[in-house]
């Protein structure tokens, strides 16, 4: 299975600033996903990032707030902009291996963001 790393593992930020989270995969994958887990809540899909095209955002998430880059098949970044305390969450990236058969998604360790 793919090995996924995220940087930073955690950060404390001031409101109004931005944080960029990096996701690195040890193999090439077509699709990468970004999720958010707010305290006491389930994981919620933010967007799907396909290399070479614009990310696809889920309802309630917009590109201005969560810009995503996907420069190649092993790397992606998620920026959380104009931070507010409500953005305090764990942010996770995941990848799905395989194209023909539905496969499970593999997750990174997550980035714990605290906004003061």
């Amino acid at each position: 299975s793919a090995v996924i790393s995220q940087k930073p593992s955690r950060d404390i930020c001031q409101r109004g600033t931005s944080l960029t989270i990096q996701c690195q995969v040890d193999s090439q994958v077509t699709m990468m996903f970004w999720y958010r887990q707010q305290p006491g809540q389930s994981l919620t899909l933010i967007a799907t990032a396909n290399q070479g095209s614009e990310a696809t955002y889920e309802s309630g998430f917009v590109i201005d707030k969560f810009p995503i880059s996907r420069p190649n098949l092993t790397f992606s970044t998620l920026t959380v902009s104009n931070l507010s305390p409500e953005d305090s969450s764990i942010y996770l990236c995941s990848v799905e291996e395989g194209l023909v058969v539905r496969n499970e998604q593999f997750f990174g360790p997550g980035t714990r963001l605290t906004v003061l």
């Binding site: 077509t30 996903f33 809540q41 389930s42 994981l43 194209l99 539905r102 997750f107 997550g110």
Partner: protein, 115 residues
């Protein structure tokens, strides 16, 4: 509106006994279901999955059962071991025909295995 529901926030089971974690869903378009296990400060780890064309899938100590008519699935762990203590997430996806899809998760059940 939660499309995937795990109604038990926590479950305590004695070591060696069977653990049964339940999950209900409301979206009849879901056609693929997964269970993930999560330890603190780690990302979710895939455990087992099942397609909607099946009603059972088994992998070692883990078995997932799917009841489509009831929109219900369950994860059975037998025998339960101390290392099974973790939060378990149920997840589902829709085959949109376009390839990889994001997952819809439940809120999780914290399983505690007591010695």
């Amino acid at each position: 509106d939660q499309q995937v529901k795990q109604n038990s926030p926590s479950l305590s089971v004695q070591e060696g006994r069977i653990s049964i974690l339940n999950c209900d869903y409301t979206n009849s378009m879901f056609d693929y279901f997964l269970w993930y296990k999560k330890y603190p400060a780690e990302g979710p780890t895939f455990l087992i999955s099942i397609s909607s064309i099946k009603d059972k899938n088994e992998d070692g100590r883990f078995t997932v059962f799917l009841n489509k008519s009831a929109k219900h699935l369950s994860l059975h762990i037998v025998p339960s071991q101390p290392g099974d203590s973790a939060v378990y997430f149920c997840a589902a996806s829709v085959d949109s025909g376009g390839g990889a899809d994001g997952l819809t998760f439940g809120k999780g059940t914290h399983l505690i295995i007591q010695p």
